[in-house]
Amino acid sequence: MIHTTVGNIGHFFVILSFVTALVSTIAYLLVALSQRKADSAPVEFERAERLEYAEVTSAGAGRTSIPVSSKRPRTDKKTPSGKAAVAGKAGEPRNDWRMLARWAFYVHGVAVVGIVGALFYIVSNHYFEYHYAWSYSSKALPAEYIISSFWHGQEGSFLLWIFWNAVLGVILINTNRKWEAPMMMVFALVQAFLASMILGVVFGDTLKIGSSPFLLLREAMPDAPIFATDPLFVPEDGKGMNPLLQNYWMVIHPPTLFLGFALTLVPFAYCMAGLWRNQPLEWIRPALPWTLLGAMILGVGIMMGGYWAYETLNFGGYWNWDPVENAVYVPWLIMVAALHTMLIAKRSSTGLKTAIILTIAQFILILYSTFLTRSGILGNASVHSFTDLGLSGQLLVYLFAFIILSVFLAARKWKLIPSDEQETSVYTKEFWLFIGATVLCLAGFQVIATTSIPVYNSILESFGKVSNLALPVDQIAHYNKFQIWFFAIIALLSGIGQYMWWRKVENRNWNALVTPAILTLLISAGLIAFGEVRNPVYMALLVASVFAIVANGTILLGVIRGNYRLSGGAVAHIGMALMLIGVLFSSGYSRVISLNNSGILISRSEDFTKNDNKENKENVLLWLNQSERMDQYQLTYRGQRIEARDVPGYFPRSWVQLIEGDFHGIALRDIDVNGKVYHKKGDTLALFPENIFYEVEYREPSGKIFTLYPRLQVNERMGVVLSPDISRKVGRDLYTYVATAPDPTAEDQWDKTETYSVALKDTFFLNDYVAILDDVVRTNDVDGTELGPNDAAVKAQVRVLDKNGEHILSPAFIIKDRLVGRRAETNEELGLRIQLNEIDPRTGKFTFAVNRKQRDYIVLKAFEKPLINVLWIGTFILVIGFLMATVRRYREFSKMRNKGMA
């Protein structure tokens, strides 16, 4: 049965959200227009406000007030002062418009919640007649991941973004007084654009606006033959969610990242509102806490993605300079640069101008990154960009609309920003913060210049030229050679900047910085010697990071005694410096320990012995149950394991028989883990059949044993995905993954049978092994066969020697009810199956049938990542710093607001 109602409701909400966003935009525009007319005049009011504003400069820093005359916008002169009196009341008659705008936005919010609800209802009820549910979920999907299938598709992730914007919009309407109309106009306009992305309206044959998440399967693929025969066809099950994304990080990473996306809109909207209202400086106070929060959330979202990649993908790190990663990294850098310039905007017109440009840029860059990742333009360049939904044109319109609007508005109001009367001195915080912001921007520019290479190709192609530029081959080296230096400088500046900020360096006297500098050199020297840092580039980064920690730490100690609330900046800088040190050691000193030093480097290829191939020998081959030495560890591959949904840990794959095309399996024996029986033989149990874990035992020199379970995932969407398992220690992580293994889904391939006739105590060769028939004994115990009084059974004992010791194989020969039965024995480690075929009493010879197969093995790669925990700790501290700064700036804003000044 096709449930059309919920889809129709959903689609209705989509249209409603689009329309209400438009209505709200227009209504807010009308309010803003009338307000501006009234607002543009009040000279006296402005002056008073400016004086007040100047008085409460950032706490702790001096209280020199700004000369009012130099800061006053030139427009003041033009406006007839007579209108000033109307200012206070002008808003009143327009209240109905304001009410309309506000309520339109509230209805919009409700509609967005309605869309989310409808989509969630469809997915969680497994309505596979809907394209979205069919594409991204299945009955096998564990309940906790239903929520993440929601943002698996492009439409859902747009929806997530819209949702956060709506939430933020409602909060902003209720937390500020003066800014509502012009700011919410921008908000509602963005919402209208975003809602149009999921509108799913087609005009004629070509013009498609948006892609609806509520399409029925038969609407999404009208050409599928099944719908010709049965228009009411509903698939039994969905295609399911990419199992790679079935991970807790993928439940929280996308919402965090999109909240970060949404938060970039807040400073942008305030900035637009400020320009609109001819108050090019005043928007900064309310925007600052939101910028800080946005930088924090976006940063956390990026790091979550990195952590997921570290745990799940096998490239060996948390950051790969993939275009998709770069596309959010750049806006984050610019956002951080923007917030630093906001801090100096009050006293430096260069700072203010930069703050306006960067605030616009960080939002535009988010749109650009959306375009990069969703238009399909990256094509070959990236592994995990979305496929093209045919929305690239619409995304371009969206991008250019906001570029044009914001640049136009900024250009028109540029003259309102006064010029600095004198050049900034080197001895001011303004100078140092500005340099810091500039370096951040250059770092962002370097990344985006390279990431956009596919875009240059497309642009040239659209002009009829052929361009065959490709991304750099060694992207990591390409980006790092700049980013390391940029961040070394940023670390240094963060220390110096803090000293300037707190006025420790005054009257051209740098003495205050001498102590931290000496301390830095001492600590760095120790670290360089102890950590055996030899690379001069790494030394530079290390020294800079240590300086950042020492300088900011000193400031922190000083500030905490006064008012700990003001120490957010110092704390955040310390976090950043720790992150740099963590990155430096975990990446720069990552050491491959799975070196193939077995001596078996035989290959037909000539270049095999060449020196430059040596570094490629970074994998070891492990045969089942044959231990190998690797670095300080003795390694043993113990076999393939599988995970059941209701059994802790892993158990051998041979314990269950998988049911084809289902996620259940049948227990072939009692499933007991740690002495507890979870399932009886013959039970059906729910599994994660796509995941195979390879149990690898590590024995340390001390004899301590730990086990890692690197994973191989037979991923229908992506082929085979290999994921590491990580042994986490305080000082270092041991990162292990299976580089390759025999296809676990293939049936065993046995060679043709060979027969051997041997007498007792004879030695013979099986495969490459020496085998000895030790004995043939009568037995009453043959597994699986009941022996009666007239029956008989014998077991041969064949001893097989391999390099690690001996194996006893005991095939059985049974006579039951006058019929002959043979029970073969299989040894996986040797790849042998042996069967006792005949016993000849006359000659005393025993005939064995032997089959061979490929032995089970894995090719394993392992490396150590030292001090990676410093990176995670640094991230955590950075977040705390950002939060402290956010709270402080929000309190400042709300204090001013309550006085009626912000």
């Binding site: 594409s135 070959n380 750099p472 990591i476 050679k481 070891v620």
Partner: protein, 146 residues
């Protein structure tokens, strides 16, 4: 000269350095013939070559060589580029798991004597979910280093 001018000049200089370096590091898409010519001219820059696996009449892939028990880090295959030039490619890393399924292969590396030595492989495998769409996976021989 004012401080701001010096500062501006430095910023512009760095920006130019970035652009030059981007242009210098950027690789390009070429054919095997061009790659061989580059190697002959002593240019050892790494390049991208797009190609397809060589298949016989029955659709079986030809020219694959991988024996992990001999050497898990040596994989050879034969690629046909867009000019139909057939080329032996050597990849000193384990064979990517989904290699056989791929429709299009991008190899990144350089020509060395009789073969193309590749460091990185991008595979385009047919998506089971979206007809006519390909999905890309990436494989790299060396460990990523800072």
């Amino acid at each position: 000269m004012k401080l701001s001018h010096i500062f501006g000049i430095i910023v512009i200089a760095i920006a130019i350095a970035i652009i030059v370096s981007t242009a210098g590091d950027a690789s390009s898409y070429v054919t095997f013939t061009q790659a061989a010519q580059m190697a002959k001219d002593g240019n050892d820059d790494m390049i991208h070559v797009v190609g397809k696996l060589k298949k016989d009449a029955a659709g079986q892939i030809e020219g694959l060589f991988y024996q992990p028990e001999m050497d898990p880090n040596h994989f050879e295959f034969t690629l046909v580029d867009n000019d139909n030039r057939v080329q032996k490619v050597v990849y000193n890393a384990p064979k990517p798991q989904d290699f056989d399924r791929s429709e299009q292969v991008v190899v990144i590396g350089s020509m060395q004597d009789d073969h193309f030595q590749c460091n990185k492989i991008l595979l385009k495998c047919p998506s089971k979910y979206q007809d006519g769409k390909l999905e890309t996976t990436e494989h790299e021989a060396k460990t990523a280093k800072l």
